[in-house]
């Protein structure tokens, strides 16, 4: 079997991740911080240590600004629903995931003013259009860091500059980039970074987070949920202190331990080395596919501005047929269709048919890639 669906969720997971999850349930099984006995304290330590490494990984100073969530969707909703009010102006791109577009469209019905800046068919953002769209009434700019449809990366640091100049904040959807490319929130001046644990960060599903820049005033963000935090229990009002303000209810400690192990695994191996490997695989897939008649490959040709995602269509076969044949006849697992991002497919001209998406990962080999190219050649020739 060849797994080429790492953009949906990475697989396999490093053995260290599985071990950390079992270990924490066996040895730190208390309810973190709630009860004050040794198993409860050990659980709280596990979570705190993860917070600290995540803060370091994305380069912010204060670990209490790492907010654990279930996934990127939850983190994005926390910011959008917690910060925005009717009448606020929001600028975003035309290649966002539904994790961003659905909450924004819903807020739009309640009076939010939404401005969508078009991207070129290869996904590249037109800097002049976005500069013109961000004005002094703009409250928030929301930007996908890399497209989950064609892998094109957007220039978040440049957009951060524009946003801050206009007095707006920047939320980056790093679902596809966290763990795949180095992210420095301080250097990139990112205010809110939403990530998910189960893709490039090598962790399990069901854990993600929101990382809040050191300078961001969090009193302007309302929590999505309110409830017990194990702290300030005498109060029936939600505490303002971080991370508790945004983390009510018993957390996913096995998920946090697995995510932490995934991040350590990445740090040990070196994120640059994994990126090099994935880009080499990406280059070969693009070259192999581009030389086949009737195949169109999407996304920018500038590899440095790409993640390991290769989307294509064939002029003689539907994408669903290619996907099914790859799975049934060759044991190659890919994802076809719209990838929860209809806006991105409209932008690249593949709506509503969608594309076949190949997403190699840290464990994919060059042999896997060569076999895949050969299999696709057979399928489109048949």
């Amino acid at each position: 079997m060849i797994y080429l669906d790492n953009a949906a969720t990475s697989w396999p997971k490093p053995p260290e991740v599985l071990k950390a999850m079992v270990d924490v349930l066996q040895h730190a099984g208390g309810n973190p911080g709630r009860s004050g006995h040794r198993l409860s304290i050990e659980a709280a330590r596990v979570i705190y240590n993860a917070r600290e490494d995540i803060a370091r990984f994305f380069n912010i100073g204060d670990p209490s600004r790492v907010i654990f969530t279930s996934n990127a969707t939850h983190a994005i909703n926390l910011v959008l629903q917690g910060l925005l009010k009717p009448g606020d102006r929001v600028v975003t791109s035309s290649i966002e995931h539904n994790a961003v577009m659905r909450p924004l469209r819903s807020l739009e019905k309640q009076g939010l003013i939404l401005h969508t800046v078009p991207c070129a068919p290869d996904g590249m953002l037109d800097m002049r259009s976005i500069a013109a769209a961000i004005d002094s009434h703009t409250r928030l700019v929301v930007l996908i860091h890399a497209s989950n449809v064609m892998g094109t990366m957007l220039p978040v640091a440049e957009v951060a500059h524009l946003a801050h100049h206009a007095g707006a904040l920047l939320l980056v959807d790093a679902a596809q980039t966290a763990g795949a490319v180095p992210i420095d929130m301080k250097a990139g001046r990112i205010d809110f970074l939403a990530f998910t644990g189960h893709k490039g960060l090598q962790g399990p599903p069901g854990i993600g987070g929101l990382v809040i820049g050191d300078h961001v005033d969090t009193s302007q963000v309302e929590p999505l949920m309110r409830g017990g935090t194990g702290s300030q229990s005498e109060l029936e009002l939600q505490p303002e202190s971080l991370p508790d303000k945004f983390e009510s209810g018993t957390p996913n400690i096995a998920g946090i331990a697995g995510l932490h192990a995934g991040i350590r695994w990445l740090m040990d191996r070196g994120i640059h080395i994994i990126r090099e490997h994935e880009l080499e695989l990406t280059r070969n897939l693009i070259n192999g596919l581009s030389s086949m008649p009737g195949i169109k490959v999407y996304g920018t040709s500038d590899l440095e501005r790409r993640t390991a995602i290769i989307s294509f269509t064939a002029n003689n076969k539907e994408v669903s047929e290619i996907g099914l044949k790859l799975d049934d006849d060759y044991g190659i697992l890919v994802r076809v269709g719209l990838h929860c991002a209809p806006a991105a497919h409209r932008t690249i001209g593949t709506f509503p048919g969608g594309t076949v998406r190949l997403a190699p990962g840290a464990f994919t080999t060059m042999d896997d890639v060569n076999k895949t190219i050969w299999a696709i050649e057979q399928i489109i020739a048949s």
Binding site: P32, S35, G36, A44, E52, P63, S64, S233, D244
Partner: protein
């Protein structure tokens, strides 16, 4: 007999951070349930050796760890 002090925090995360910083500075500390006579909070507090109170305070001050209250036990 050792005399202890206890630090109360607003969040469990701060208590964990304080423990880590103080252990790294060689202070002898222990996380304990919040003593009922000090607060009705259900979380954890950090017990320390009262003789080290100056050092403890300066370490937490320097790292800007938010502290709710410090009591002598």
């Amino acid at each position: 007999m050792t005399e202890y002090g206890v630090i109360l925090f607003y969040t469990t995360s701060s208590a964990m951070r304080a423990e880590k910083l103080l252990v790294a500075e060689g202070c002898s500390v222990k996380l304990i349930p919040v003593p009922r006579h000090l607060s009705s909070d259900c979380g954890v507090a950090l017990r320390f050796n009262w003789q080290q109170q100056e050092k403890v305070k300066s370490v937490l001050d320097q790292a800007q760890v938010e502290v709710d209250a410090i009591h002598q036990l």
